[in-house]
């Protein structure tokens, strides 16, 4: 009698449309098809991990305030490219 169960990841990154300025900072985010300007950059930080694996992790996170008042976290995937939304906690 063999049964296989799976654990599903929580808080997985979701792709997001981002416009950046000449320094690579996000200035406009596209959320639910709506363009929202970034009003403030609160903080930025970088994580590099699992560099020994075929798919290393290299991300620059930004915590930003949007024009509608929300504060969200986004990151730029430096290894695979693209921008993602993910609550960092």
């Amino acid at each position: 009698m063999i049964t296989t169960r799976r654990l599903r990841s929580l808080n997985t990154p979701r792709p997001i449309g981002v416009q950046t300025d000449e320094h690579g900072q996000p200035i406009v985010l596209v959320i639910s098809g709506r363009k929202l300007a970034v009003e403030a950059h609160h903080e930025t930080w970088r994580i590099d991990d699992e560099w020994w694996r075929p798919k290393p992790i290299s991300r620059t996170y930004w915590r930003v305030s949007l024009e509608d008042g929300r504060v969200i976290d986004v990151y730029h995937d430096l290894a695979g490219g693209g921008w993602f939304r993910q609550a960092y906690g």
Binding site: T4, R5, L7, S9, L10, N11, T12
Partner: protein, 399 residues
């Protein structure tokens, strides 16, 4: 006695090829310090099992070198032996990738049955077996070894000695020292051993020599011993990403142990377990295996987990873990149990379980309620998606 030996040549290599599709056309060496198995192309380049790996790589420098994964080969081999039991009630496993099948009293003629076994194994598992049929296990084994995959070699009753005579003495179950001495005496074939006086070979080589002489004569009455079938319970858990830390490995294993024990409480209520085997598929290939024998049979998942946890802590997996498997072995009937005086939060958990049952009733057609349980994996991780995961709501919830 009529015996068929089913042999899958280079079984470990074939098993590895099946799970690593990209290495189909490559030379393969399996082993650590010495060669455990090698592909046909490597054999052509004079690589032999037991040879030093450095020497083997020197002979075929373009080969892929894989670590030995014996638990995986044994599991695949057991699957093949299980399948062979559909053809005969008496099947004996003989190492990985080989088995003896007793054919006495079966309605199907031996050759046709052997053809069916070869076709069935190929269809079911993708392995190509060869089959040798003879009046004894040794001649059947040798016949299977010298026959091409997919072919049946039948050694007629009474012709075993003649069949074996021209074959090299390497086939005899003799120790290296005995083979070396036979070679020094100028004997290279089984027929030359058969021509020796039995008293002389026994005087030189003792019981081992006598046994080899009998086999060379075609005398082989060793019976096929059927496997003792044993019911086991296996539960597996695939992790969302390779787990590197001990806490994650322990958390995952605990979940699998509890899931395995919860099934004892269902269909197998009142069952006790004597042994558990924890296995892990490792990142980059390979299997880690840890057998845990309980001092006394255990029917409670928490008690079992205590023993298993201690064993894992003493001998943890050496690489990140992708999948965890727990197998419960030695299931027996209940022999009495000391009940707990205090159940702790039992009432609260019964309420939760009842709520889940209510949801399942309200959603007919679904076996499991769409209810999950958040499990902390690496709460300290810098990578947010590694911190927690959603597990299925199991049969048993440990507070």
């Amino acid at each position: 006695m009529v015996v068929a030996c089913v042999n899958i040549p280079r079984f470990a290599v074939e098993a590895e090829r099946q799970r690593r599709k990209r290495m189909n056309a490559r030379l393969v060496l399996i082993g650590e310090n010495t060669v455990y198995d090698c592909s046909l192309g490597a054999e052509v380049l004079k690589v032999r099992r037991g040879m030093k790996m450095s020497e083997a790589i020197g002979l075929c420098p373009t080969a892929i070198v894989l670590p030995t994964d014996v638990p995986y080969y044994e599991r695949r081999s057991d699957e093949v032996v299980d399948f062979a039991e559909a053809f005969s009630p008496v099947v004996e496993a003989s190492g990985t990738g080989a088995a003896y099948v007793a054919l006495d009293g079966l309605p199907t003629p031996p050759r046709r049955l052997a053809d069916d076994v070869i076709a069935g194994i190929h269809k079911q598992f993708g392995f190509m077996a060869s089959v040798g049929i003879a009046s004894g296990k040794f001649a059947a084994r040798v016949a299977a070894l010298i026959t091409r995959p997919g072919v049946v070699k039948l050694v007629a009753d009474g012709t075993e000695a003649a069949f074996l005579a021209p074959l090299p003495i390497e086939h005899l179950p003799a120790a290296e020292a005995m083979r070396w001495r036979l070679a020094m005496l100028g004997m290279g074939t089984i027929g030359e051993v058969a021509r020796l006086p039995p008293g002389a070979i026994q005087a030189q080589f003792g019981a081992e020599g006598r046994r080899c002489w009998e086999l060379a004569q075609g005398f082989d009455s060793e019976p096929v011993i059927a496997r003792v079938s044993e019911q086991t319970i296996v539960r597996r858990l695939q992790l969302p990403s390779p787990a590197m830390t001990m806490d994650v490995i322990l958390a995952g294993t605990e979940k699998v142990v509890q899931a395995a024990y919860s099934s004892l409480g269902g269909a197998g209520r009142g069952r006790w377990v004597r042994k558990a085997v924890v296995r892990a598929v490792l990142d980059g290939g390979g299997t880690w295996e840890l057998p845990v024998a309980f001092r006394e049979a255990v029917s409670d998942g928490d008690d079992a987990w205590f023993a298993i946890r201690n064993a894992i802590t003493k001998r943890p997996p050496e690489r990140p873990v992708e999948e965890i498997e727990v197998e419960l072995i030695g299931l027996s009937g209940e022999s009495g149990k000391q009940a707990r005086m205090f159940e702790g939060k039992g009432k609260l958990w019964r309420q939760v379980e009842e709520a889940v049952r209510q949801i399942e009733v309200q959603q007919p057609g679904t076996e499991k309620a769409p209810v999950g349980k958040i499990v902390a994996l690496e709460p300290w991780s810098r990578i947010p998606e590694r911190r927690a995961a959603l597990a299925e709501f199991g049969d048993k919830l440990a507070p």
